[in-house]
């Protein structure tokens, strides 16, 4: 183990860039490889949507209401004759935007807060962590419902609500990593050598937090997809006509006894994408540091 490298740090490899080495090991694990494939397919479908969506997701086909799997509608159509496949692909765009946005917000706020907690210690540490406790105590779904009621259900509100729920986890992960690193001999040596607290954080604590943050972020993506779906289902998420997997399920529910396929398809999409994020997150944790098992929320 080289100086400055904790188990949490990215493994330094002489010949390969760390990202390449990690990807190679990911693809060697069957579950993780499957996860990577599902995520890549979803990303591709979302990016290529304008070219691959078979018909306009708003277009109503009154000759084929609530149709099952057919040549015109590969995954069936809803009560307004809208194509489920087209809506599913547009929904994938939303799911990815929400998960990237929410996790990004969680990292952008949580990491600095965690670092500040480690840096300032004492009173400010207490204040920050109590605020984080308060955020954890409050069911994130209710924060989202409240925000949606306050600001109207939109992409921004949903990202804000789920992102806020991610903040305390990121802050805790960074803080606990920071507390461990802070006690190590080489950090004491750096301090003795006159290195400032801020430099210690930037040079030693931040790099050591990268791995647990990546793992937490990957698992957080799955969580974001699940929460978006729940919000959409109770009607406070992104509002129709924009199709999301959550509001598709909401609109399908009253039709459950007439066309079950409508309820099955979006749910399966959510399940597969969340599963993929979890597979990759778990694998990353095992690759980067098996000891993170207790630290990172699953």
């Amino acid at each position: 183990m080289t100086e400055g490298t904790l188990p949490g740090a990215l493994p330094a490899l002489a010949t390969e860039r760390p990202a390449v080495a990690i990807l190679r090991r990911l693809l060697a694990m069957p579950q993780a490889a499957l996860g990577v494939v599902v995520i890549l397919l979803t990303v591709l479908a979302a990016l290529l949507a304008p070219w691959i969506v078979p018909v306009d997701p708003e277009e109503m086909d009154f000759d084929n209401l609530l149709s099952g799997i057919s040549a015109e509608h590969w995954l069936g159509s809803d009560q307004m004759g809208r194509d489920t496949l087209a809506r599913l692909i547009v929904g994938a765009q939303v799911a990815l935007m929400v998960s990237i946005g929410a996790v990004g917000l969680g990292v952008a706020l949580g990491v600095p807060l965690g670092l500040a907690s480690v840096h300032f210690r004492g009173f400010l540490d207490d204040v920050i962590m109590r605020v984080m406790d308060a955020l954890v105590v409050f069911p994130s779904l209710l924060i989202a419902v409240g925000l949606a009621a306050a600001m109207g259900g939109s992409l921004a509100t949903v990202i804000l609500a789920i992102g806020l729920a991610n903040v305390p986890w990121m802050a805790r992960v960074v803080r606990s990593q920071g507390l461990t690193v802070r006690e190590l001999d080489y950090v004491a040596a750096a301090q003795a050598g006159g290195m400032s607290n801020v430099r210690i954080i930037v040079r030693h604590i931040l790099p050591n937090s990268v791995a647990p943050v990546i793992v937490q972020a990957t698992l957080g993506m799955g969580y974001a997809v699940l929460t978006e779906a729940a919000l959409g289902f109770i009607g406070v998420g992104i509002q129709p006509p924009t199709p999301t997997w959550g509001n598709m399920l909401q609109q399908a529910f009253p039709m459950l006894d007439q066309q079950p396929l409508l309820s099955v398809v979006p749910g399966l999409a959510i399940f597969l994408l969340v599963l993929a994020f979890n597979f990759v997150g778990d694998a990353l944790r095992d690759i980067l540091d098996p000891r993170l098992k207790g630290v990172v929320a699953t």
């Binding site: 308060a134 409050f138 994130s140 409240g146 306050a150 969340v274 979890n278």
Partner: protein, 317 residues
């Protein structure tokens, strides 16, 4: 020990104050005049009457003062009255919480009694078919949206087979059979994620325990495999399961919001969502307080259970 408990209880105070204050601030940010929520639909009032209502409900005071007035009453157990129907919030919340608690407990107990044995079997028969099945189920259980599982359960047991009711709620104390029948599907949908997490945790904890020296000692003493696993190993393997319990209390509340909406159950989650939409922030405030107290208490109980299960852990020294 008592000192520790008292200290922990005192630590809850700032967190509770913070949570309720944040909610208070958030509810004020919701657009629309709260006075509108107080008067009946279609009712027309002049400026003077509106000002009177505003004064009566302290809506003309600064945010901090409003919060202070609420807090002063809350510590005496008075959570105010719902602006929608004028019923005392503490009373209404109590009865709603009982509903959520009933099916939360059924979900939780089922998860525990399925999850722990399955996790242990999975560890003891590592690499055998039982282990594979349990592992696949636990991975799937975490990734599946619980409300979608509920929809699929309604489709199978309600719509297709017609075995179970899919909407509404019957008090389990009034009619145990109908109560349980109504509770079966929502409790299943709510409990699956917890069950999967418990299974996962007890499997990995059991694997760790089984590799320890004292297990070999116990076997060398001539104890039967059953005693070794169920008496010696289980106690230590339960520790991480207890942690999951602490975390799950919050999850059950969050899950209840969606599951109660799906199954039309008049529980707390449902009540809170309706209250948020109706701008009834007296109710929201009280509900959040109750949830926060429950989650924090669960965390405390979790830590105490830790000390009880593992004598090496001592608090308060």
């Amino acid at each position: 020990m008592w000192q520790y408990i008292v200290r922990r209880l005192l630590q809850m105070v700032p967190v509770l104050a913070l949570v309720t204050f944040l909610v208070h601030a958030l509810m004020l940010a919701i657009p629309g005049d709260p006075v509108r929520a107080l008067i009946g639909p279609g009712e027309v009032l002049d400026e003077e009457q509106i000002a009177l209502i505003r004064k009566e409900h302290h809506l003309d005071e600064p945010v901090l003062v409003q919060y202070g007035i609420w807090l002063g009453k809350a510590v005496q157990g008075d959570l105010g009255r719902s602006t929608q129907n004028q019923r005392p919030v503490a009373e209404e919340l109590g009865s709603r919480a009982l509903v959520t608690l009933q099916f939360g407990i059924v979900a939780w107990i089922t998860a525990l009694f399925v999850g722990v044995p399955a996790g242990i079997a999975s560890a003891v028969y590592r690499g055998r078919p039982v282990d594979y099945v349990a592992t696949v189920l636990s991975i799937g259980g975490v990734a599946i949206p619980n409300f979608w599982l509920g929809i699929m359960a309604i489709l199978l047991f309600g719509v297709t087979l017609g075995w179970l009711p899919t909407q509404g709620y019957v008090d389990i104390f009034e009619d145990p059979v109908e109560g349980l029948r109504h509770m079966a599907l929502p409790a299943f949908a709510l409990g699956v994620t917890s069950c999967a997490l418990i299974m996962r945790q007890s499997r990995s904890a059991m694997l760790e325990v089984l590799a320890q020296d004292y297990m070999r000692t116990a076997r060398a003493k001539g104890l039967s495999e059953r005693v070794v696993i169920w008496i010696h190993a289980l106690r230590n393997a339960l520790l991480p399961v207890v942690t999951v319990f602490g975390l799950q209390t919050g999850r059950i509340f969050a899950g209840a919001v969606v599951i109660e909406t799906l199954f039309g159950i008049p529980g707390m989650g449902n009540y809170m969502v309706q209250a948020i939409f109706a701008r009834d922030f007296v109710v929201v405030q009280g509900g959040v307080l109750l949830m926060a107290v429950s989650v924090l208490t669960a965390n405390l109980v979790t830590d105490l259970a830790y000390a009880w299960l593992d004598p090496r852990i001592k608090y308060g020294d």
